[in-house]
């Protein structure tokens, strides 16, 4: 049996008294595409942000390729104790954000080469060549010299995906990648994500888009109030929801 790429065990996260995650576990093997669904406030975004330590869980383990992230402190003071380990995790898990978060002072191409050069220390020429190839791949090869604000939302999100791929990550994390987009622009981004899934890219996707979840994921997790309510192959879970909450959630999203 191979080691899972990413394993989250019994993750607890609270903001003050508000418990957002109440013991969630998740395992992503190489090539898995895991979709996280659930209503707002269910904790799905918090969970994916815990995966690369943008949020620190107060309890629970994060294992990247079998290696557990070291923590120090307790409760709200719990912090990762090894900066190099955190950097290793983050450079191997590329995050794509709902609001794209392209660096606004850099051109699209500069956005894509920034972390490979600054963080990974790759040679500039090589980084540029790879960035151009990735921009071509996501269909905005002609936009490299434009600034993010000059692009449509769909183009910005595809640029953000190219930025993520430029890290040559072990897995991609998507935090509601299509939620800020019009249906038309959404389709451009979905096509890119589908292409990545076909290539066997390991992905964890937080989404509101049931169609995206059904089409690309091989495992679907329904979160409700900080716990996993139901999970399994997307077709099974979406077509034959067992829990009443998921049934309610699905009928609400269909309307």
């Amino acid at each position: 049996m191979t080691t899972p790429v990413l394993e989250l065990n019994n993750i607890h996260k609270a903001y003050g008294d508000l418990e957002v995650l109440k013991g969630v576990s998740l395992k992503a093997n190489k090539g898995d595409v895991i979709a996280l669904i659930g209503s707002s406030g269910s904790g799905k975004s918090t969970l994916i942000r815990c995966a690369n330590l943008l949020e620190q869980p107060q309890q629970g383990d994060i294992l990247f390729q079998g290696e557990a992230i070291q923590f120090k402190g307790q409760g709200h003071d719990r912090q990762p104790s090894d900066a190099a380990q955190v950097r290793h995790l983050r450079t191997h898990l590329s995050m794509v954000f709902q609001q794209f978060n392209l660096w606004s002072h850099l051109s699209v191409l500069e956005n894509v080469i920034e972390a490979p050069i600054t963080v990974q220390g790759r040679p500039r020429d090589e980084a540029i060549a790879e960035a151009q190839a990735l921009l071509d791949k996501v269909g905005i090869g002609d936009k490299g010299d434009r600034y993010p604000a000059e692009l449509s939302g769909g183009q910005q999100q595809r640029a953000a995906i190219a930025r993520g791929l430029a890290m040559q990550p072990t897995a991609m994390l998507f935090d509601e990648p299509t939620s800020a987009l019009d249906p038309e622009l959404e389709a451009e981004v979905v096509r890119v994500i589908q292409a990545l899934a076909k290539e066997g890219t390991t992905m964890i996707i937080v989404t509101h888009d049931m169609k995206l979840a059904r089409d690309v994921a091989n495992h679907l997790i329904f979160l409700h109030q900080g716990v996993i309510e139901e999970q399994g192959p997307p077709a099974d879970v979406l077509d034959h929801p067992k829990s009443e909450r998921l049934q309610k959630f699905l009928s609400a999203t269909k309307a």
Partner: protein, 296 residues
């Protein structure tokens, strides 16, 4: 041109024989006027040195204020609060005096053979070897020392305002931009240098442009510190000159000050243009009003 000027100087040997344009040409090129023109250089030199120094103090102040280290943070806060709360003129008189006497006290205890008390009655007395500059020093050393003290005062005062502007600008950078830097593995220094600092400028620029204008307008305070700046010379040269002077004339101060008005207007108008250009250039492609304007 040089030859012409030279001729003019020769013909200026006896001012009383001159009339009309020749008189004026000689008048405007006499020794005192050359010092007047030089004092414009003093003002420009002060601006050229005070601006980067103030920016340096500003960065130091802003970083201290934002520091996680408790002691440092308080120093930054006190620095900014003090300078902003005390009238500029008071500070301009205080800082050079403080630095000057501070240096002399230190020198007094390290250089003097017999270290008597510094305060003797109402007098501040240090031994000759501790004087700054030494009384034997050349006059230019004295003026340079005075200029340096003034420069320090400008840097400290304007640095505090710059610190506040830079602190605000650093805080104005959206957290999502910095969070993304972290998410891609940047450490605190990389995220500061690569993302926060370059994005900060666009928020800082209007405030810094303002400060620069105020700095230009504050240069006459040099006069207050006993430096022979353009205001000093305008008063000196413009005043009524009786017949015992080589170039007697009535009270012309109004013309001299009008010349200063023109000088300051050109300076501020010109720098306004430069800053506007800078703003446009930095805004290219940014999702701001000026950015969109520039992109069209």
């Amino acid at each position: 041109m040089r030859g012409f000027l030279f001729c003019m100087f020769e013909s200026c040997a006896d001012p009383s024989s001159l009339t009309g344009l020749a008189w004026f040409a000689c008048y405007l090129t006499n020794g005192k006027h050359l010092l007047f023109y030089q004092s414009f250089g003093t003002v420009l030199g002060l601006l050229a040195l005070a601006a980067p120094l103030a920016l340096l103090f500003g960065f130091a102040g802003a970083l201290a204020k934002r520091s996680q280290i408790p002691g440092l943070r308080q120093i930054g806060q006190v620095y900014v609060a003090m300078v902003r709360g005390i009238p500029d003129v008071v500070f301009f008189l205080f800082v050079p005096l403080l630095i000057d006497q501070g240096i002399e006290v230190v020198r007094h205890y390290s250089l003097c053979e017999s270290t008597g008390p510094i305060y003797q009655g109402n007098d501040f007395v240090v031994c000759d070897a501790a004087k700054m500059p030494l009384s034997s020093a050349e006059p230019w050393v004295h003026s340079l020392y005075g200029f340096a003290l003034a420069l320090a005062a400008y840097a400290i005062v304007f640095g505090a305002f710059a610190a506040n502007t830079l602190d605000g600008a650093l805080s104005a950078v959206p957290t999502a931009q910095l969070e993304t830097a972290r998410a891609y593995g940047m450490n605190a220094r990389q995220s500061f240098v690569r993302i926060q600092l370059p994005q900060m400028w666009i928020y800082a620029l209007p405030g810094l442009a303002n400060l620069w204008q105020i700095l230009i307008k504050a240069t006459p305070l040099l006069f207050l510190l006993g430096i022979e700046d353009i205001v000093y010379w305008a008063r000196e040269l413009g005043g009524t000159k009786g017949s015992r002077f080589a170039y007697p004339h009535p009270d012309w101060r109004i013309y001299y000050f009008a010349a200063l008005l023109v000088f300051y207007m050109i300076m501020t108008w010109g720098s306004e243009k430069v800053f506007n250009r800078l703003q446009v250039r930095m805004s290219v492609g940014q999702a701001t009003l000026s950015g969109k304007g520039a992109a069209l």
